[in-house]
């Protein structure tokens, strides 16, 4: 079965969803991410959905679940790149994904994760200027 690749990026994981996902693929991604977070001791998970043309309640629930699970495992989940039409539709559908952090693009998402790491670990010095 196909699986969506998960890339390691410093102490964060990056997932780029590029296909029209069927439900099994979404479920597999949820499981894979959970084990990778533990395996790499990741502090952040970036999910890039800029290629997705729709997000229905199933994928919405997957994103919510990933965020909830990663929170328990001490990692931040940031969903990045949601298209305007997708955002409008999700809100109309009744899903606001309140437990999920969002950012405009991968770069901004990474800044969010870094910012959180900085507040939790003050020894780390990072350049944060834009």
């Amino acid at each position: 079965m196909d699986r969506i690749p998960i890339l390691k990026f410093g102490n964060a994981l990056l997932v780029t969803i590029q296909v029209d996902m069927h439900d099994r693929l979404a479920t597999a991604l949820e499981e894979d991410l959970t084990s990778k977070i533990v395996e790499h001791n990741a502090k952040g998970v970036l999910i890039d959905i800029s290629a997705l043309e729709i997000v229905d309640s199933f994928i919405g629930r997957m994103l919510d679940n990933i965020a909830a699970v990663s929170r328990i495992l001490d990692a931040d989940t940031v969903v990045v790149g949601m298209r305007p039409a997708v955002a409008i539709t999700l809100v109309e559908l009744g899903l606001s994904l309140t437990g999920v952090k969002t950012a405009l693009n991968v770069e901004r998402g990474m800044e969010l994760i870094k910012a959180r790491l900085r507040t939790s670990d003050t020894d780390e010095e990072d350049d944060v200027e834009e």
Partner: protein, 131 residues
């Protein structure tokens, strides 16, 4: 006008429903937001048909009325049916594993919505979105 039938038997068929809906929505000239809405609604209803109706069939039509074009989707299954349709339309209602946004959500995303269901006989849901 154009119409097409599609069996809904697996989660791959749900993907096919989305693709077919997209093709028709583009042909009807729906705006990007409207396309996204009807595709999302189609995805919700196709999953309902699969998960709760035990599979079924979609009739997808390109329609025209009063000079406006649109897409009409009719999902039909012969599953257990819904005994309380009103309750099923409320957010949060679910008899399965979903978030319970399927029916109510699909209604909000459509310009037209109708549902017929009899316990023990099945469910028929029709939605339409106009340009």
């Amino acid at each position: 006008m154009k119409s097409e039938r599609l069996d809904i038997r697996s989660s791959d068929d749900v993907v096919r429903v989305r693709q077919l809906t997209r093709t028709l929505a583009i042909e009807a000239g729906l705006s990007l937001v409207d396309q996204t809405k009807i595709i999302t609604a189609a995805s919700e209803l196709a999953r309902n048909t699969l998960d709760y109706g035990g599979g079924g069939v979609l009739l997808a039509e390109l329609v025209e009325a009063l000079g406006r074009r649109g897409v009409r989707l009719t999902f039909e299954d012969h599953g257990p049916g819904i005994s309380d349709v009103e309750a099923a339309l409320k957010d949060g209602f679910t008899s399965g594993k979903g978030m319970g946004l399927g029916l109510g959500g699909a209604r909000r995303l459509s310009n037209e919505f109708s549902i017929q269901s009899k316990p023990g006989e099945g469910t028929k849901v029709a939605i339409a979105r106009w340009k």
